[in-house]
Amino acid sequence: MYPQVLLKNRKKDRILSLEEYREMGGYKALHDALTDESFHPRQIQELLLDAGLLGRGGAAFPTGIKMKTVPDDAPHPRYLVCNADEMEPGTFKDRVLILTSPHQLIEGMILAAYAIDAEIAIIFIRREYETAARALEQEIGRAREAGYIGKNLFDSEFDCDIIVHRSAGRYICGEGTALLNALEGKRANPRKPPPYPTVKGLWQLPTEVQNVETLCCIPHVLKNGVDWFKTLAVSKTGAGTKVFSVSGKVNRPGCYELPMGVKLSEIIEDYAGGMLPGSRFKACMPGGASTQFLPESMYHARMDFDDLKNAGFRLGTGAVMVFDHKTCLVEATANLMVFFARESCGWCTPCREGLPYILDLLNRIEAGEGEVEFIPMIRQMCSHMNYSYCAFAPGAAAPVESLLTYFEGEVMAHIENRGCPFKIGKVN
């Protein structure tokens, strides 16, 4: 059993209460940071940078660096936004994190806000997580009463309040800049930096957007130190733990907190209870729908941002979606494309028009109307997704590209057989 940090003391069917959280040493980091006169908020930024904390929302950007891009003389109010939109298919770790310990997130948010001197913190949460949203509202109230949220925290000059904002539902709202437009009551089309949100974000004021899991890590880094955090990982360059959302053809789908860099095979076999009876591992998406399929050759790969990146993949959100040998990946990819084509914000041409085009071609291949020329067409369109306005379209292209790279045989079989081999019984 690896050390549990974020999901420690996780209770079945209930959240950790404020008291329980405090007993575990919760809010100590916040207390110390705010009462220690010699501790400058900017030191939080340094600590997070040294600890190698990378954003857990998918982009793996170093949190300390992002914080440093808020200019010292930037205007106020400043905002800290917790991104709990979590609409990436396959991903559900943020829900579990909130429902495990809302106070862990609250403390992380206040600390992050303190690091950039933000007085308003907002939790942007998807509507499907109503239970989590209510739990948060309730616990924010408790934290406020306890003096962890509000004015002059711990008699310092620092004020911070937390607001919960419920989205009306769109995947693109989770994109850090589209989210800002959504919060401003505009259509959630992304914004193109520069200026970066940390300089001109919500209402053109400095805004730091951070994923739930990232924020949850912060109190632990402060409390236990940089070195401790680094040693949690088992990969060369990774740091901390990672909460993997495991789903698909495994016996025990669910959230598992494991060291950064744990092997995929270990996750599946030792934690997720192995493949379903009668299923063989065929592929896996390591980080949600917008990452590439990992083929069988990657079965023992280390689940770490750098390791996967070096091998040409992305860890994304750490949502391990497992596919078995009976699943048609052409059809699965078409299903993903339905999602992406439907959720495109409609701002830029490659994504708005190109994805439905790719979907049409995949559907044709699946339906037995595929032509050999479709393959280079799809490939080229996928590569063109890199020239879209935001990261949505390249993400949408990732599974398709990897389908063509690692499962070209399966695609070709569809074309040659003029139909889906899984449907016309060409597969056992």
Partner: protein, 805 residues
């Protein structure tokens, strides 16, 4: 200044511009859909992709999103970039209908052009096309949403640039829809620009639907004369009629856009009712014959009563050429006039404004966009000079504050602060702003005035916009004084007047006396004047006392009316002489900042084929001449009336004008942005020559007819497609006054005026100055019962309110 290389051409460009604009400057066209200079870059369509070969940015990027930087090497022809652009077109064409043959955009369609030039020729997509239901957007714009390529130009223009909220983008992903919440007439008086902006045929010009292709038209760069701003337009003519007008870029006046009054205000030129023949005592004669007959009759009157018994009336809707010719002819013949102003107040106001404008004070409309504070005094841009409101909005978008001193309930598409002041008080408020002398103004306003004064003092490029319709010469003079004072204090202050007509400025330049129609009527009544020649004047509509006008006209021995529109007064003439419109004769118009601009003729004139062909097919009657092609411009007619020979050509006319009138010395040297003409120092007014008059006393109401964007301006008023846009008769009253009458919004108001009752719907607002009643001029309202530019006092007991049922 960054230096970069685009397609092997080295260019140096100003800091901060995008690569696409840098390429434009180098004469290299990079495809674009979403990018439009005045709307800025948003990177949505992705068609402007180019390859950055070397320098600070590498790889394929959107040229509209990247600032031009030193050392960049850019290739627009790189195979990878071209391949991507071809795909972008393919994507856009997935759903675009192939209805070019029946699409009015065909032939000047950006999508057509770029589909060709980006080399997308063969359809590969096998799926179905997405379709939409179109919306009725009013009589001006046809909607065909299936053609949309989602460039977002229209919604961005409509909401962000223009500030209106009834057209935008709905839906998401591939189901995006551009239109209104519900079908209905677009609310913005600047809506027509989406026709010009849309890169495909989603919005096309409705009145000209299915009349032709761009290459069928005679197209010239023109000037709009539907208000005093003189926006630049492109005129398209075919079959002897004007088909449509578009906005034309001017870096000094209007930028790219125009208002709907200007865009659709040209139909007077096509109307069947237009005079196209001479008429002498009820009989049609060729136009030349009518002129000779008129000259003959004028001569007779002159012989029997003396030259001073003949008077000429002109107007600010005539070209500078016509005004100059009339001025010259009156002078040499000893006739009175030309009288170019309807009322004394208007004459005073316009001539004061023109005498105050000077090179160093005047700002162009485009310069207003970079003002950091704008103060308006008695000016309502939306209604008096629509595009000015757009320029002010752009300044406001960049952070400029806007304050207005006015008695109306102003309604502009941006935020501003209004100081509600009665016309009589506006001068005091202006003075208070200038010198912080607040003793003369009511205590209620002191704090507000002080705060505005502080804001104005704190800014660098304030502009004072002053109207000439509800103001008096003291305010107009004061506005210039304020600007001068600010300039002396080191601010780059600017002055901007609005004037009543397209050539009011030109009229004031040439008119040294400022005699008015009011004065002339008196002379007719006294028998001093026996013959009147009215040239292109709207006196019938604009003269404040119609009964008196009718009686005066009946007293005349001779009434000659020359016009290109069928005004009411024309029908009362002994002799009618048709003249040419700006589209046929061309003309110089001097806008309100003193910019003289030349609008060339768009076609040779003559009765439209639609009329002569009477619906037959083919519509032509083959004949060697142009039907009604013998009409002369009014300036030629002026000389002939005096039995003299006009200059033989327009060029010679310009020469002659420059030599004859010192203020027009530069008139022959036109550039595309026009030339600026100012009064010489000696002809400028002094403070002593201006005055304000307190005309209102307690318990009286000042009834003020004011301008409306539609239904008021004499030319645009004749456009059939604009009929529904005119306001309904309404009277605005201060909410505090309404309490005295126990009146509420929507009640019926009945005014007992000298010539009978006037019925209007009552509208209330906190921002109407107490004691003032505002009436927007509109065709349904017989407002000639009171003065147009002067004012009318209504005692309280003449106002009756009937409660709304």
């Amino acid at each position: 200044m960054p230096k970069l290389i685009i397609d092997n051409r080295e260019i140096e460009v100003p800091e901060g511009i995008k690569v696409i604009e840098a390429a434009d400057r180098a004469g290299i066209y990079i495809p674009r859909f979403c990018y439009y200079a005045e709307l800025g870059a948003v990177g949505a369509c992705r068609i402007c992709a180019v390859k950055f070969v070397d320098g600070p940015v590498k790889g394929i990027e959107m040229s509209c999103m990247i600032n031009a930087q030193d050392g960049m090497v850019v290739s627009t022809t790189d195979p990878e970039a071209r391949d991507f652009r071809r795909h972008v077109i393919e994507w856009l064409m997935m759903n675009h209908p192939h209805d070019c043959p029946v699409c009015d955009e065909g032939g000047h369609c950006l999508l057509q052009d770029l589909t060709e030039s980006c080399d997308h020729g063969i359809r590969r997509y096998k799926g179905k096309k997405r379709t939409y239901v179109d919306q009725y957007l009013g009589p001006l714009i046809q909607h065909e949403e299936n053609r949309c390529i989602q460039c977002y130009r229209c919604s961005r223009y409509y909401q962000e640039f223009a500030g209106y909220k009834d057209l935008g983008v709905m839906g998401i992903a591939q189901r995006i829809y551009f239109g209104r919440y519900a079908a209905g007439v677009l609310e913005s008086p600047f809506s027509g620009n989406i026709i010009d902006l849309c890169p495909t045929g989603v919005y096309t010009d409705k009145p000209s639907r299915y009349t032709g292709r761009r290459w069928d038209y005679e197209r010239v760069p023109g000037i709009c004369i539907n208000c005093s701003l003189g926006c630049h337009i492109t005129v398209s003519a075919r079959y002897r009629e004007i088909v449509y007008l578009e906005g034309r870029y001017s870096g000094k006046v209007n930028g790219s856009f125009i208002c709907d009054r200007g865009r659709y205000g040209f139909f007077y030129a096509n109307l069947e009712e237009r005079p196209r023949q001479g008429r002498v005592r009820g009989e049609d004669v060729p136009s030349g014959r009518a002129i000779t007959m008129a000259a003959q009759r004028v001569k007779e009157v002159s012989e029997s009563h003396g030259a001073a018994a003949i008077a000429v009336i002109g107007s600010g809707r005539s070209s500078l050429e016509t005004i100059a010719a009339l001025t010259h002819v009156c002078k040499v013949q000893g006739w009175r006039g030309p009288v170019l102003f309807d009322s004394r107040v208007s004459s005073e106001s316009v001539r004061t404004a023109v005498s105050c404008i000077a090179q160093e004070l005047a700002v162009s409309m485009k310069e207003i966009e970079s003002a950091d504070f704008i103060l308006t005094v008695g000016a309502d841009p939306i209604n008096e000079a629509p595009m000015l409101a757009m320029a002010m909005r752009q300044a406001w978008r960049k952070g400029a504050g806007v304050a207005a001193i006015d008695c109306r309930s102003l309604d502009w598409p941006f935020q501003f602060e209004q100081v509600t002041a009665a016309p009589d008080d506006m001068a005091d408020f202006l003075a208070a702003l200038e010198n912080s002398e607040t003793t003369v103004i009511s205590d209620r306003f002191v704090a507000q005035i002080k705060s505005i004064a502080a804001k104005i003092r704190a800014c660098h490029r304030p502009v004072v916009v002053c109207g000439t319709e509800i103001t008096d010469s003291k305010i107009i003079y004061g506005a210039a004084g304020f600007v001068k004072a600010m300039r002396q204090a080191g601010q780059e202050a600017g002055l901007f007047y609005t004037l009543p007509a397209a050539n009011s400025y030109g009229a004031a330049l040439l008119d040294e006396i400022g005699e008015t129609a009011e004065d002339l009527i008196e002379r007719i009544e006294s028998g001093e004047i026996k013959a009147l020649v009215i040239v292109e004047s709207d006196l019938w509509d604009t003269f404040s006392d119609r009964q008196r006008l009718i009686q005066a006209l009946e007293q005349l021995e001779l009434l000659v009316v020359a016009d290109f529109m069928a005004t009411e007064i024309l029908h009362r003439a002994d002799i009618i002489i048709p003249t040419l419109s700006i589209f046929e004769a061309g003309g110089i118009y001097v806008n309100q900042e003193g910019r003289a601009q030349w609008s060339p003729p768009a076609y040779a004139g003559g009765t439209p084929i639609k009329i002569t062909g009477q619906g037959g097919h083919p519509p032509r009657i083959i004949r060697p001449d142009i039907p009604a092609g013998d009409i002369s411009p009014a300036w030629r007619m002026a000389w002939w009336l005096a039995d003299r020979q006009p200059p033989a050509s327009h060029d010679l006319l310009l020469d002659w004008m420059g030599k004859t009138f010192p203020v027009l010395e530069k008139a022959a040297n036109f550039t595309s942005e026009g030339i600026r003409l100012y009064l010489p120092e000696a002809r400028r007014k002094t403070a002593r020559e201006t005055g304000g008059r307190k005309i209102q006393s307690l318990g009286e109401y000042l009834l003020l007819p004011v301008a409306a964007v539609f239904g008021d301006e004499p030319m645009a008023q004749r456009s059939p497609c604009l009929e529904g846009y005119a306001k309904h008769p309404e009277m605005w009253m201060a909410a505090s006054d309404a309490r005295l009458f126990d009146a509420s919004d929507g009640d019926a108001a009945r005014l007992q005026l000298p010539y009978g009752p006037l019925e209007l719907t009552l509208r209330l607002s906190e921002r109407i100055a107490p004691g003032t009643l505002i009436v927007y001029r509109c065709p349904d309202l017989f407002w000639q019962q009171f003065a147009r530019s002067s004012r009318f006092i209504v005692p309280k007991d003449r106002i009756r309110i009937e409660k709304k049922a």
